[in-house]
């Protein structure tokens, strides 16, 4: 039976779905037309290209159409749509609405398509003779991405997952049998609190621009081989590769910064499969850029260059398979779950892998591969070696990350390493040493042949300076405990010193080398920062203040990392005296205020600051902590709340408000009844009360006092132990012969007074004092970590990015020249 549902707004969804189909159709049409425009050598080429361009522009418009429809749905809280319902809520602050857009897989696929369409527009204008062959590949990728959003059944298999699916079609709940079900859906699920962070609004778009731009070098390499323009493609592919490397690098680092600022795992890199998946293509494309240079200047390493450029994009596609197919399952903290697109994602991989294999095999004999051996003292040889090292480093990351894939393919049940960080570092630290040393030495090599004596002369001074600086750095950063650490510090410093020398020459006029020198310096700084911060980070919230024996547990083997604190009870933590001084609630967030005070030997306060780690007491997701970090030039102090008492009002949604006159005495202890006179003093738990005077002309809000009625107020003055004074005036009323009394509260002291009787015979007044039981002491459990010299890491990434920008300008200029 069809139900006529009420209140649904179906137009935006239908429009969006129409745009999805249009995007898919035009992408396919553009791909096919560009293909024929490339293949046909007669006059029809131009008309094919016309069709292709038209299809492309419609594609771009309809991609924007999908985004606008989806944005409209989320912005207007149209919870009849599953996507809006599961990723946003009405309480979500405006600035995070945009983040909920790409919390789901569908939104992030759209983001990828959007960037790809914009990059396509740049290619249409700028690629000239390359337009048709390059855009064939780009639009093929666009069509495949669009298919991920289709959400239609083809031969009984669902293809893609549409963001415009209705809630009642996505889920099977009894309420959907009611035509007015929409009224019962009060709010959406909201955005995961961890994603409610400034960085989460800019990290995904940057990362996806990086992923999207990697298709362009692939398309150039593929087109070059396919069209037998074997050497021409390298020049235009160069700035695109650098652009992709730069943007992807920035995107990855933003993710790392978000993890450090907002996540609770306490660090900036955890070798999580999802992180690995994004860093692998970055490494291979960096390797590709270096061999592209080697080939351009010496004619060596052609195959390696073509292979690395293409495999980089295939690894991007593989990364989306890893993170989106659900295959990582229990090995990763933040991968998506399977949306039923497992085989579709496999197909996506297979198509691009197939293209690469086909073009490399079919053109193998024609590739301009030199038979000559490289000179040992030549830059191209060492660029090649460096790229190989990067590639091998990548293979290690891929192999370890892909353990769940091997399990799925071979039916094995191998678990990932127990300590992933140690496992990856064991391999990646030696690779980093080699890479850093190569980046130091190869800068002094010349293409084809280097004057050996000159080479050693220029390198020896850098080497000596580097050794001295290493000794100093190692001493100050205290990384001397481990030989590999010292070696990596040396390698990175060596790279900084020799690249600074190159940069010095660049400033004197050889400016063309500036980009690479700056990028290498940045990379080396990043290595030092990562090494020192990760190697010497220490938990400073050690629980040394006596371990209380717990039943069933003899002794804690190691002092714990988590520190328990009562409110207003200072604790010594290392050189700091820390005090939990209170909390404040803002929406669903609770900010815990922790004061840090550092005193000198003379007892004077040298430094004092407050950190406010945040915890969201989310009714659906529990307590989610967000750290607060004190940044210094030389180190960071990172603080996070790991446990705290529940705040019921936040967890139960609406705040429970106490109406006036609401006779709730349940919260109070048994009252004390006193017979008093003016001038008497009464004691209560945290202070005393003075009976000041009797007010015979008391007034009561909303109740007129008529003639013959008696309204008497008792003026009380409350002196709390914290030196605060309050007044209260409970009222006694006789109206039309009936006796009433009006109680008064002192909320802050948990007091309530009633003026219940006047006893003229004994000249006494009866007052009842209600007192709340003493509040449970507030407490938090927190963890604090010190990260020394982490600023090197962030500074390194910024400098490296500047280096990439300089290089892009240089290589872009080369195309024009």
């Amino acid at each position: 039976m069809d139900i006529n549902y009420q209140g649904e707004s179906l137009l935006p969804g239908q429009l969006g779905q129409f745009f999805i189909v249009l995007t898919f159709g035009t992408a396919l049409l553009a791909c096919i037309s560009y293909f024929f425009a490339t293949q046909s050598k007669d006059g029809s080429s131009a008309s094919w290209k016309k069709i292709a361009r038209l299809a492309f522009w419609i594609n771009l418009i309809s991609v924007v159409g999908i985004g606008s429809s989806l944005y409209y749905i989320i912005y207007n809280h149209l919870f009849e749509y599953h996507y809006a319902w599961s990723h946003s809520s009405t309480t979500l602050p405006m600035k995070y609405i945009i983040s909920s857009f790409w919390e789901g897989q569908e939104g992030s696929f759209w983001l990828w398509m959007f960037w790809q369409a914009l990059l396509g527009a740049v290619l249409v204008f700028r690629a000239k003779t390359w337009e048709s062959p390059v855009m064939t590949t780009v639009m093929l990728c666009q069509a495949l991405l669009a298919s991920m959003l289709l959400g239609v059944e083809v031969l009984g298999e669902r293809v893609g997952s549409s963001p415009f699916i209705l809630l009642r079609n996505a889920m099977d709940l009894p309420i959907f049998s009611r035509p007015d079900y929409l009224k019962m859906i009060v709010d959406g699920n909201g955005l995961n609190p961890l994603l409610q962070n400034y960085w989460m609004t800019i990290h995904p778009p940057t990362l996806f621009l990086g992923f999207a731009s990697m298709v362009v070098p692939f398309a150039y390499a593929f087109a070059g081989l396919w069209q037998r323009r074997y050497t021409e493609w390298i020049k235009p592919a160069m700035p695109w590769s650098l652009f992709a490397v730069m943007i992807l690098g920035v995107g990855i680092i933003m993710g790392s910064f978000w993890a450090y600022e907002a996540l609770n795992f306490g660090g900036f890199w955890a070798w999580d499969p999802v992180e690995n998946a994004s860093v692998i293509p970055w490494f291979t494309l960096i390797a590709a850029v270096h061999v592209l240079l080697a080939y351009k200047n010496s004619g060596h390493s052609y195959f390696t260059a073509a292979f690395l450029v293409m495999i980089s994009f295939i690894l991007v596609v593989y990364a989306s398979f890893l993170t989106r197919s659900g295959i990582l399952g229990e090995t990763s903290v933040h991968s998506f779950t399977d949306l039923g697109m497992f085989w579709q994602l496999v197909l996506f991989n297979a198509i691009f892998l197939g293209l690469m294999v086909w073009v490399l095999i079919s053109r193998w004999k024609e590739l301009p591969i030199t038979k000559k051996d490289e000179e040992t003292y030549s830059r191209e040889f060492w660029l090649f070696i460096g790229s190989m090292v990067l590639l091998v480093a990548c293979i290690q990351i891929i192999a370890s990350t892909s353990i769940p894939v091997f399990n799925a393919v071979f039916g094995t049940k191998v678990a990932p390493p127990i300590d992933p960080i140690a496992h990856y570092n064991k391999w990646q630290v030696p690779f980093a040493v080699v890479i850093a040393i190569l980046s130091a030495t190869a800068q002094f090599m010349k293409y084809r042949r280097t004057d050996v004596k000159k080479f050693y002369r220029s390198i020896i001074s850098s080497l000596i300076v580097a050794i001295v600086l290493t000794a100093v750095t190692v001493y100050f950063t205290q990384v001397y405990t481990n030989f590999m650490y010292i070696l990596l510090t040396f390698a990175a410093i060596f790279s900084i010193v020799s690249n600074s020398k190159v940069l010095g020459d660049a400033l004197k006029g050889k400016w063309r080398l500036a980009g690479s020198a700056v990028a290498h310096i940045g990379f080396a700084l990043l290595l030092i920062g990562a090494l020192v911060a990760a190697a010497t980070e220490k938990v400073i919230s050690n629980n040394s203040t006596g371990v209380i024996a717990v039943e069933g547990f003899d002794a804690v083997e190691t002092p714990g990392d988590n520190l328990f604190m009562y409110m207003n009870e200072p604790i010594q933590m290392g050189e700091y005296t820390i005090t939990y001084v209170g909390d404040s609630i803002d929406g669903v967030d609770v900010y815990y205020r922790v004061n840090y005070v550092r005193k000198g030997k003379d007892g004077k306060v040298k430094e004092s600051f407050q950190l406010t780690p945040r915890a969201q007491q989310n009714p659906k997701m529990g307590l989610v902590g967000t750290p607060s970090t004190r940044h210094y030039l030389k180190r960071d102090i990172y603080t996070i709340v790991t446990a705290a008492p529940k705040i019921e009002t936040l967890l139960n949604g609406n705040e429970h408000d106490d109406h006036e006159g609401h006779s709730s005495y349940e919260d109070y202890e048994e009252p004390m009844t006193y017979e008093v006179n003016v001038g008497d003093t009464l004691r209560y738990r945290s202070g005393f009360i003075i009976v000041k005077e009797v007010n015979r002309n008391a007034t009561i809000q909303n109740i007129p006092v008529a003639k013959g009625d008696i309204a008497v107020g008792l003026m009380l003055e409350i002196h709390a132990s914290n030196n605060k004074t309050y007044t209260a005036e409970p009222i006694y009323l006789i109206k039309e012969g009936m006796v009433y009394d009006f109680a008064k509260d002192i909320e802050e002291q948990g007091l309530k007074f009633r003026f219940t009787k006047i006893k003229p015979d004994v000249n006494k007044l009866e007052v009842m004092v209600y007192q709340k039981p003493p509040a449970e002491k507030k407490w938090i459990v927190m963890k604090a970590i010190e990260f020394p010299y982490i600023n090197f890491f962030w500074a390194g990434t910024i400098i490296m990015t500047i280096g990439f920008v300089l290089s892009i300008f240089r290589r872009n200029k080369e195309i024009k020249d």
Binding site: F265, K426, V624
Partner: protein, 133 residues
Amino acid sequence: MKKSSILGIVVIAIFIAMIISIYGDSSTYASFSEAQKTEAELHVVGQLNKEKELIYNPTENANYFSFYMLDEKGKECKVVFNGSKPQDFERSEQIVLTGKMVGQEFHASKILMKCPSKYNEQEVEVSESIASS
């Protein structure tokens, strides 16, 4: 011999060393009974026994958390975690522990848990906690 051939051999050698190392570092999924037989750290997959008490008293010890878990074969074991109680632990539907047996208790160094979203059975959230070391 060409230099690139020598390099190729070196790369293959490193590659083999790497595979062996990954294999050596990789762990196994085991049951509590299997964990009893070895000193090595391994992974145990199972479910929280929701009928027994979870012990976490931050006022007494903020770094002691214990609970009872049933492994995939249905064997129950007390688990001790040297850290704070992971948020929303009660709701977990599957737990992956990393650690080893100490006497009759399993000492976990890492807990990975899967929670069903309250609102959507099709989606699963995953979160992770690491014990202090």
